[in-house]
Structures are given as structure tokens and as C-alpha cells.
Symmetry: C2
Subunit: 198 residues, 2 copies
């Protein structure tokens, strides 16, 4: 994929990339995407994120096994995740880097709720946009949450944190064009909820 | 604020803007930020977002009242939200546009959970980044959730949807520099959880 320099070209060129070339990602680039992640907003600017950068083949294999289990449970034999027309999904053992986005859970409830997402998913999005700008591919996966206990055991995530996403990072095997979307007007309402656009 | 054209300058220049000039925001710009929002990733690419663009003074007043209630409840007399050194927060009645980001809730549970955030907060972040690139200010607010029932009543949000954030949009009253962040290394772990960076 071509790098992107201009903001005007950025958003429409973010694609879910699940197939990665057998080519390493320099540590300097990983640091670039993480730096972008930490610039995101968070509730009361608490910056409650932690990022586990997984390159260890053993850890990748364990995470991959739990992830495949979760996919099988959800999609059965249908694979899942990849679009039917897309290239074959690279197993996590052969993805150069897996980034596990973690977030501190609110002390009051002891668990991550809907609103907790406001303090970690913008950071994930920054990470993925910065990756795209560098010509790198990513995909936001949350399916690991169906094997949350196992995943947390593998990584040693403590009780005060939860895992929001696991983001594979690598060089795409093919170019990607712009994403397809209906006009924003079709999901925009004026002043009050509009059942016609529900 | 100066517009931003280059991706390299984008992330570090996103700031929480709570004070807005008495100047309207052209509809074409609102459409730009909404178009960016709809380019975001979402679970299984379901694009489950809806955006309520509030310009009606009566609706803004009602939302603002509920929001101030929630702030008072949370922060007492201390105002809340704005940094102590920042300019005074503009009341929602005088913010040009309020964008209410809504998301369809999973049919299985009937309510938005942590993971639901993965399908709406990246869209909110795109919206805010595109706004910043245009020289517009925003801030991600979720405090309305403490008056969720009232807010949903004002807007007519149906049971199958929830509100992720209310994002004020307008022209900042002052310039803003880069955000301050500790080095990403301080929140980055390698292969497994690292209690030293907890």
C-alpha cells in the first residue's frame, strides 16, 4: 500500500487488512504507531491505556490458538472475519506484530463498560490511522473477548485492566482502494431522532 | 486554530476544545466531519452508527440543562471538564453544533457493552480528527450518560440504540499547541504484561 501524507486522503483509505507479507516491521515504525495512539483523547484525560507489543512466536501461537477457537465458535466452518473476495487471512503466528490494547477498568465498577471504550478505542483508531499513513495494514479485532479469560492468562493481564482489541500489524500483500460507504446523509439526523433513517 | 494538511502533524495537535467562538459552522464542514466518521471501522463492518446533528436552540438548551445537571452531580461546584488553566467552557446553548453519536445495540444483549464501543468510538475519533484538520474544535463528552434517560427522551432515541458521546463542534476561541504526553514507551510492554509499567 502506498503511504499517505495528506489528511484529506487518510480516512477513506483505511481498510481492514488481514493478509500480511512475510516481512518484518521495524521497531521505529511500531513506536510511531504507538506514539499516535497515546495522543488520543480519554475520559478526564486519564490516558488509561497500556499496549502489549507481541513479537514472541510462542506468545503469538498461544494467542492465535485462542483466537481461532473464538472464530470457530462464532462462525463455525465459515472462517469469519475476512471478506469473501479478500486474500486469505494470515494466521497470527505469521503476523509480524500483534498489538494488544489494554485499558484500566473503572475502580467504581471493577469492569469495563460501554463508556470505558471512549478511553481506548480512539487510541486504537489513531494507531491504525498512523499505520495506514505509513503504508502498514491493521485490523481491529475484538473476537478475542470470547476467550477473554484464556487470553488474559496467556498475557498475564491483571484484574484492574481489560483488553479492548488485538490489532495485527504488518505489510499488506496487495494494494487496497478506498473503502465503500453510503453517503453520510443516510445516517445523519437533524435535531432529533428520525425513524426514517433508523 | 490553523488547519492541518499533513498526517504527520495531525494526532499531536488534537486538543479538547470546550470554548467556542460566536461563529457558525457551515453545513458543508459538518458534512465533511460526518463523512470521515462513516469511514471508520466497525465490528463485522456493520456501520451501526447514527449521528444526530443538533442546531435547534430549544434542543440544545434541553441537552445542556441535562448535561449541567450531570456535571454538578459529578464535580459539585467545581465546574468540571475544563482544565483549570483553560478558557471558560461555552454552554451548549452557545455551541454552534452538537453531534450526538449513536450506536445500534447488540440484539443478543439489548444493551451496549464494552465491545460495542469498538463500533462507534473510532468513528467519533475520525470525526474529531477531521474537524481538527479543518481548524475546528471538538471535545469527546460522555458525561451525558449520567442523565441518559432524560437525554434519550429529549432526542427520541429508541430502545435499539444507545448514545456513545455528545461532541460539541465549533471554532476555537484561541490557538492550541501540541498535546503533552509521556513517551509511548512508558505505556508499552513487550510480549507479556509488565507490572513495572502498570
Amino acid at each position: 500500500m502506498q503511504p499517505i501524507e495528506r489528511v484529506d486522503d487518510l480516512f477513506a483509505h483505511q481498510r481492514a487488512v488481514r493478509a500480511f507479507a512475510d516481512r518484518d516491521v521495524d521497531e521505529a515504525l511500531v513506536e510511531r504507531v504507538l506514539a499516535a495512539a497515546t495522543r488520543a483523547p480519554s475520559g478526564s484525560n486519564t490516558q488509561p491505556w497500556r499496549f502489549v507489543v507481541v513479537r514472541d512466536p510462542g506468545v503469538k501461537a498461544q494467542l492465535g490458538e485462542a483466537y481461532e477457537d473464538a472464530l470457530r465458535e462464532t462462525y463455525g466452518g465459515r472462517g469469519g472475519g475476512a471478506g469473501a473476495a479478500g486474500p486469505e487471512r494470515t494466521p497470527w503466528t505469521r503476523v509480524p506484530v500483534l498489538i494488544v490494547a489494554c485499558v484500566q477498568v473503572p475502580a467504581r465498577t471493577g469492569q469495563a463498560g460501554f463508556q470505558t471504550g471512549a478511553s481506548i478505542y480512539p487510541a486504537c483508531q489513531n494507531l491504525m490511522l498512523q499505520a495506514r499513513a505509513l503504508g502498514l495494514g491493521t485490523v481491529l479485532t475484538t473476537m478475542h473477548r470470547r476467550r477473554r479469560e484464556r487470553i488474559h492468562e496467556i498475557l498475564g493481564i491483571p484484574a484492574g485492566y481489560d483488553t479492548a482489541a488485538i490489532i495485527p500489524l504488518g505489510w499488506p500483500t496487495q494494494p487496497y482502494g478506498r473503502s465503500r460507504r453510503p453517503p453520510a446523509a443516510s445516517v445523519t439526523m437533524r435535531d432529533r431522532w428520525d425513524p426514517a433513517r433508523e
